[in-house]
C-alpha cells in the first residue's frame, strides 16, 4: 500500500472501499473470536483437573508396577502382559468449529474384570491385577484427556491468532486507511480551491485586458 497515493477521485473511492472491506472483516473476525472463546469456556471446565489427576494415577500405576515386578520378577510381569489379548479401540472423528479441527473420540471403557484379561489367574497374584487395573483406569483417563486437552490447545491457538488479526485491523489497518482517504480528500479540496483562485485570476486579467482595449 502506498503511503503517498495520487490525489485523484479514483484513489479516494478505492481507499473508501478498502475501509469498508476492512470494517466488515474486522466485525466478522470479532464474531469468530467470540464464538471461539465461548466454545473454549465450554470445554475448559472438563479439562481443568484432568491433567493433574492423570499424573497422580500414573504415579500410582508405576508404583504398583514396581511392586509387582519386585514380587514376581520383571519377566513374569512381562509374560502376563504378553498374554493379554484385548486391544481397546477408539474412533476419532474430526469436528470443525469455526475452522478449527477438533478431534472427537469415541471409546469403550477399557476396564475389564479379572477373567477377561487373558493371563492365567493361577500363576499370578493380585499384584499384577492391581497393575492392570491401574493402567486400564489410566488409559480411560488418557482417552478422555486426549479429546479435551487437544481441543483446548487448538482453540487457544486459534483464539490467539484471531485476536491478533482483530487488533491488527482495528489499530493498524483501519486507522491507516482512514488517514489515507482523509489525505486524498484534503488534497482534492486544496486543488479545487487552487484552480478556483486560478480561474478568478485569469478572469480578472482577461477583464482588465478588455478594459484596456476598450
Amino acid at each position: 500500500m502506498a503511503d503517498n497515493p495520487n490525489p485523484t477521485r479514483m484513489e479516494l473511492l478505492k481507499a473508501r472501499n478498502r475501509i469498508k472491506l476492512a470494517r466488515k472483516g474486522h466485525k466478522l473476525l470479532k464474531q469468530k473470536r467470540d464464538a471461539l472463546v465461548l466454545e473454549f469456556f465450554k470445554i475448559l471446565g472438563k479439562a481443568k483437573d484432568m491433567r493433574s489427576e492423570l499424573g497422580a494415577q500414573m504415579k500410582r500405576c508405576y508404583s504398583a508396577l514396581a511392586v509387582a515386578q519386585a514380587y514376581h520378577g520383571a519377566s513374569e510381569v512381562e509374560n502376563a502382559a504378553m498374554s493379554v489379548r484385548r486391544a481397546p479401540g477408539v474412533s476419532v472423528e474430526v469436528r470443525n468449529i469455526m475452522g478449527v479441527k477438533i478431534p472427537h473420540i469415541e471409546s469403550q471403557e477399557v476396564s475389564a474384570n479379572l477373567m477377561e484379561r487373558g493371563y492365567t489367574i493361577v500363576g499370578t497374584s493380585a499384584k499384577i491385577d492391581e497393575v492392570a487395573e491401574g493402567f486400564e483406569k489410566a488409559l480411560d483417563m488418557i482417552v478422555k484427556l486426549a479429546e479435551t486437552e487437544n481441543a483446548i490447545r487448538r482453540l487457544i491457538r486459534e483464539i490467539e491468532k484471531t485476536k491478533r488479526r482483530v487488533n491488527a485491523l482495528e489499530f493498524v489497518m483501519i486507522p491507516r486507511l482512514e488517514a489515507q482517504s482523509k489525505l486524498i480528500q484534503f488534497r482534492l479540496e486544496e486543488m479545487e480551491r487552487d484552480s478556483f483562485v486560478m480561474l478568478k485570476t485569469i478572469k480578472r486579467k482577461l477583464n482588465r485586458g478588455e478594459e484596456e482595449a476598450g
Binding site: 475448559l44 510381569v77 481397546p88 474412533s91 469415541e106 477399557v110 493402567f135 482417552v143 486426549a146 491457538r157
Partner: protein, 110 residues
C-alpha cells in the same frame, strides 16, 4: 463394536509399555530419544491409529518441526504422559497457553 476401528499405540520405555500392555494395548513401541521421535513421526501419518500415547520426555525433546506437526494433526491425537521417573514440567502447558491467549491465569485459583 465395529465402529471403533482406530487403535491406540504406546511409545515409551519398557515399564510404561509393560503397564499399558497389561491394560490390553497391542500396538506398542519400546523406544527412547531419537528413535522414539522417528517412530512418532511415522505414526503421525498413519490413519490406523486414533490415539498415540507418548512419554512426555519424547514430546518435550522433539524438535520444533515435529512439535508443530503434533500440534497440527487432529488425527491421530497425541497425548503426553509422565513416565516411570515422574512427570516433568511441560514448557507449553495448558495453563501457560491460556494465560498467553486470554491475558489472565484461569487455572490458578483451584
Amino acid at each position: 463394536m465395529a465402529e471403533l476401528r482406530e487403535k491406540i499405540a504406546v511409545i515409551g520405555n519398557a515399564p510404561t509399555v509393560t503397564g499399558f500392555r497389561l491394560a490390553g494395548i497391542d500396538s506398542f513401541f519400546i523406544a527412547d530419544g531419537a528413535a522414539a521421535e522417528e517412530k512418532l513421526a511415522t505414526l503421525l501419518s498413519d490413519t490406523n491409529y486414533g490415539v498415540l500415547v507418548v512419554s512426555e520426555r519424547v514430546v518435550e525433546g522433539a524438535d520444533w518441526r515435529l512439535k508443530k506437526r503434533i500440534e497440527a494433526t487432529a488425527k491421530p491425537v497425541v497425548v503426553a504422559i509422565p513416565d516411570m521417573s515422574g512427570g516433568i514440567e511441560q514448557t507449553e502447558s495448558l495453563a501457560f497457553l491460556i494465560k498467553r491467549a486470554l491475558g489472565f491465569d484461569l487455572m490458578k485459583k483451584s
